[in-house]
Symmetry: C2
Subunit: 347 residues, 2 copies
């Protein structure tokens, strides 16, 4: 239909009666250009509505000011908060962010990394589901820095940021035990996720350390979603009263909120019949039918710190300076709310 209205630097140069090199300087090094010419060029740019072509710029310059971010589940508020923290830093530093949602599928995760590599992004913030270690090393070999988010210290080959999930899980477990619960349950999955394994490991530790008669039932879910929680609640509710756990620790708040819904539907009261502790402390946990106790992670801070580490690594590489990888492991805290208040039912 319309004319392929493609105005380039050359057109600007012609209109402003200068060379393309000068136009380039007006953009990238304005102080190298004399005021009158600078103005003439600026006017030409405005008149033609020229917008620099990022592809051409990047092709020539080699580097890119866009960074890629891969998250497991964009509809989990935990990740959107991490994303917002990262965006805040990157926006300020003049990077643009590309968010990719792997939806907990290792295949999609790899596809996203492929695309980022093809686009020669300046760096990648990566919250992995599968074991993409090899793929990530390939990225680094090409010179693309990668920071691992939400899984701290998995390897000393990268910077990484996360919380100590073992500690978090133990906090939750101890709390339930201190409240008097003896039949505990852990709900979450898949256990291919480090986060799930560690959080479960944490509550297992708490149970062992408590000694005595405390037991732990592990309920595995296909994913960390609301629906998975609802389904798991049905399974638990179906157990006879004497066998059903009285204290449940969910691998994240989405599961916890789902469990709560499911319990209510099944006629179980929280916390009177069954106590509940979640993980992440997303805003919606406090607003749930019964406010949910949760292991708090500094979500925005995780995002910010990841972005800062990534920017530092990118700039070190640009300046050909050495860079040593850093592992930042935040310590989680427990926020107690109504869902785990009071003592367990006798039974």
């Amino acid at each position: 239909m319309g004319p392929k209205n493609s105005v380039s630097m050359k057109d600007v140069a012609r209109l402003a009666q200068v060379s393309v090199g000068t136009v380039s300087n007006v953009i990238n090094a304005p102080d190298r250009v004399t005021a009158p010419t600078r103005i003439r060029v600026a006017e030409a740019i405005a008149k033609l509505g020229w917008v620099p072509n990022e592809s051409a710029r990047q092709l020539r310059a080699g580097r890119s000011r866009s960074i890629g971010m891969v998250v497991m589940d964009i509809s989990n508020p935990f990740f959107t908060d991490v994303v917002k923290g990262a965006e805040e830093v990157l926006y300020r530093e003049q990077y643009s962010v590309q968010i990719g949602n792997s939806d907990q599928q290792p295949t999609r995760e790899l596809t996203l990394l492929d695309r980022f590599e093809q686009q020669r992004v300046g760096g990648v913030l990566f919250a992995p589901v599968g074991d993409s270690a090899e793929r990530v090393l390939a990225l680094r070999r090409r010179g693309i820095p990668v920071v691992i988010v939400d899984r701290a210290g998995i390897s000393s080959d990268f910077c990484s940021v996360g919380v100590d999930d073992l500690v978090g899980g133990r906090l939750a477990g101890r709390h339930l035990i201190e409240q008097g619960h003896r039949r505990l349950a852990f709900v979450g999955g898949p256990s291919t996720l480090t986060q799930v394994r560690d959080r479960r490991g944490g509550i297992e530790l708490a149970v062992e350390q408590a000694g005595g008669d405390a037991t732990l039932l592990a309920v595995s879910t296909p994913g960390l979603t609301l629906d998975a929680g609802v389904a798991a609640a049905g399974d638990l509710a179906a157990l006879p009263d004497g066998e059903r756990p009285t204290g449940v620790f969910a691998a994240n708040d989405l599961i916890a909120i789902g469990l709560l819904q499911g319990f209510v539907t099944a006629g179980l009261r929280v916390p009177e019949d069954i106590a509940l502790v979640g993980y992440d402390d997303i805003a919606f946990a406090a607003a749930a039918a019964v406010p949910i106790s949760s292991v708090h992670q500094p979500r925005a801070e995780i995002g910010r710190k990841s972005a800062e580490l990534l920017v530092a690594e990118i700039e070190a590489a640009d300046a050909e300076q050495p860079h040593s990888h850093e592992t930042v492991r935040f310590t989680p805290t427990l926020v107690v709310r109504r869902s785990s208040a009071g003592s367990p039912p006798r039974g």
Copy 2:
């Protein structure tokens, strides 16, 4: 540190003993290449670990398989659901998506559009906050198709997808009136947002049509967030019992959830003292302290349809075929839950 390990098509061509043109064909038109050479080239690619440079490809080819998406608030589950719907379609169609979060700031919105234009994205899915009509037209003038999301039929210059917010607002208003409420309130803002104006307009309409003594109090908030809802709840709770509205319609579910929290804190019971209806019907509305009635939008469907329209427009442009813009306006429905059940307190 490491060598700038930049392997290009030329290297592949040399190793495979063919010309770069042939390598290109292996990638883009495999059937033009004889099987033996194809294999030889494939082996060379694998051996060298070559990954095509998207910038170079795009620079030459002119088109781009990445599309930009601008949302108002990435931490609002409504938008993440829309995003997931769009991603589903675009991933299938081999496009990559860049998500930008304007955070309800017109300035950031414009910055994001600028970046997308510089990157010469293939198309843009745009959920606008401000009045960016001019900027959007500039994009189109450059040949970048734009689909307006979550604001249907604002202009016949673009495709657009959304729901009829006037109808949605009226549904909510009618429902509250039918439940016997006479002192109604609308909570939301800023009213620069079409969505907010339309939803308020809808309940105003319902109040007018109901005739009689029904009144509407409009409470303006700075944004559509949880916190804004909590704050507004404080204001409403501070009103004397006889004056306080008994039926409240929130411009979205985040506000509604915030209101609910605020009311509970202030000692007001929902729905006994004050009834509540939200908008969007996000998953968390049903899971709130009191399950919240809400005007349902087909969130994923909005995302899918937007993406489909965008792809159609892009492909029409590629094929130099005419394209006529389409406006898709879904009709919202009301989902009644406990937050608006029962009759108003006498007072």
